[in-house]
């Protein structure tokens, strides 16, 4: 069967589900960040699929470029925060990071 829009949408739904499971379930803060990156990639696939099958214009690709830029900035800031958390609590387990002050 020819590859239509729904094939790409199913891939993006699968990536979104895996990313959501990682964010909800995993204990390590860096695994949560990996789940967030999976969710952002699934949104990008959605943008590009609709851009290609809806008339082949460039609007979806522009949106995907800005999503990639913002994902990079967010990953840098989030990892700086995780490093500070590790310096402070000596763990990156999201369960044990629960005190606002010592």
């Amino acid at each position: 069967m020819t590859i239509t829009l729904t094939h790409f949408l199913f891939i993006s739904a699968a990536l979104f589900s895996f990313g959501l499971y990682a964010v909800l379930t995993r204990r390590n803060a860096i695994m949560v960040l990996m789940g967030i990156e999976l969710i952002l990639n699934s949104a990008n696939i959605n943008f590009l699929a609709f851009s290609r099958f809806g008339g082949m214009n460039l609007e979806g690709q522009m949106a995907a470029i800005f999503v990639i830029i913002l994902a990079a900035a967010e990953a840098a800031i989030a990892l700086a925060i995780v490093l500070n958390i590790y310096k402070r609590f000596n763990t990156v387990n999201v369960d044990e990071i629960s005190y606002l002050k010592d």
């Binding site: 590859i3 891939i11 739904a13 979104f16 379930t25 860096i30 990156e37 990008n44 082949m56 994902a71």
Partner: protein
């Protein structure tokens, strides 16, 4: 079963399979390397969607930037002294139910919707997109472009300031 379909199923299998390894693996370094293959698979899917510039950008930024950052984070925050026996994931059953509901909703909407697929293909089908993206970034999308530059500057300064080593008195 022409070449397009074979390549599509190949990259789809790489992407979804690696994403499953990322999420379900016990070892975080295995997850990081499976994330590398996921990004490669997604870049292949971008090429199949006529987004060639975006595929290369994905490889440069995600694999070359974000994944390296994640690996540095993994290396700097592993506590090898205390090897805990606690499980790697918690709240598995509520998470599985929530994710199953959301995946079912998404899949159902995608399957049963009558998507508008435009039959007229623009002239962008047979050319590379770099020139058009460059034009669009300067003419019609110049405001998000400038704001993205400011965001990147703020992110660089903020991350460098937050992650610096404290001065030892």
């Amino acid at each position: 079963m022409n070449l397009y379909e074979i390549i599509f199923y190949f990259f789809a299998a790489i992407t979804v399979g690696s994403a499953a390894i990322v999420v379900f693996s016990r070892n975080i370094v295995y997850s990081a390397f499976a994330l590398l293959f996921t990004f490669f698979g997604v870049a292949g899917i971008y090429v199949l969607l006529n987004a060639d510039f975006l595929a290369i950008t994905q490889l440069l930024v995600y694999v070359g930037g974000i994944l390296v950052l994640l690996l540095f984070g993994v290396m700097l925050t592993t506590n090898t002294v205390s090897l805990d026996v606690k499980p790697g994931s918690l709240n598995v059953l509520p998470a599985v139910s929530v994710v199953a509901v959301i995946a079912g909703l998404l899949g159902g909407v995608y399957w049963t919707s009558d998507w508008f697929v435009s039959t007229q293909m623009g002239e962008l089908m047979n050319q590379t997109t770099s020139k058009e993206i460059g034009n669009a970034l300067i003419t019609t999308h110049v405001l998000p472009f400038e704001i993205a530059s400011v965001i990147l500057l703020v992110a660089i300064v903020g991350a460098a300031m937050m992650a610096r080593r404290e001065k030892v008195n």
